[in-house]
Symmetry: C2
Subunit: 183 residues, 2 copies
Amino acid sequence: MGKIAEITGETGLNGLDGCQMTVTRPTFPAPGHDHDRCTAEAISHAETICARRAQKFTPIRRQVLQALLSSHRPLGAYEVIEELAKSMPRPAPITVYRALDFLMENGLVHRIESRNAFLACAHDHDESAMVAFLICDRCGSVGEIPAAPVAQSVSDAARTTGFAPKMSVVEITGTCAHCQKAA
Amino acid sequence: MGKIAEITGETGLNGLDGCQMTVTRPTFPAPGHDHDRCTAEAISHAETICARRAQKFTPIRRQVLQALLSSHRPLGAYEVIEELAKSMPRPAPITVYRALDFLMENGLVHRIESRNAFLACAHDHDESAMVAFLICDRCGSVGEIPAAPVAQSVSDAARTTGFAPKMSVVEITGTCAHCQKAA
DNA sequence: GGCTTTTATGTTGCAATGCAACATATAGGG
DNA sequence: CCCTATATGTTGCATTGCAACATAAAAGCC
């Protein structure tokens, strides 16, 4: 299986300092990958980010992130609640939403609009970088790819219309390589 | 209905006070456009489509489409209900959802995922054509642009990973030309 | 026209999503 | 130690979305 095409390398010019997680992350998590390690890295990345910004990476925020990391697919807020309920008194929805907001503000979690769900960010990309999501309709896993070309097309369109783009949502559903093989 | 690239149709007016200025470029709204005519055309287009497919363009479906056309901005399902309630006994949510499903299946209405809202399709584009939406965060109006180039770059990127794309959601929020001027 | 089949609507009820408002706790700074 | 800013807990509810079943309306057939 190896890594499947990694378009990840060129993700947003790596930000302001030497923060690089393993940038060689495949677009889709390989079925047999070292998940513990990948989770640990993501958590430690989060710690770094929060420390740098003097933001608090509280237990709840950590656990919400961990819940999302436990699967490489987007979880609904209430699925996160279920996850957390396994290891603590069931948190109220608002609690989880607040943690999710925090994590999104800090670029650690993405919201998948077309699913009303949340996904732990797999890459260390510049926060302003445009990303696109490839959502597998079989296994539900989500790949994250840089969408610079999309950004280009969009700003072309913007130029003609005078529209000033700020935030983008690019979500493509389809079938991932693994599931195609499996079929 | 005219040809594809008449990207002019959207309007900014929609009752949110800030946004009623002339368009310099034809792309976003033409505030002074003949709205009755553009609505009439859309309805008649719907009739054509339905007739061609032997689908029934029932009163409810017509009224839902009309509600969406009346505003030129995406409406939530419950906003549609409110609209309809003005001219008939208030329909149940499920009734409106069913009509919306029908209209979407026939390419007459788009769902704006990032808003949980629905927009009457402004163009006469091929159903399989990929479109992108430019959503103004001030006035709420939405521009619909053909997104062939976006589609291209996305599916290139996607295919590199072995991903087989089916459906796409491209929604860009930002500020439309009118609202930029107004600011 | 009657009869059947298909399709569309109406009714009832509820699950899922999301957050507001206020109360309380907790971490740091002075 | 107090004060302030931030984080979390509690209560309650609005919004979104649809399932399941009942009824009506249209289309096809003899």
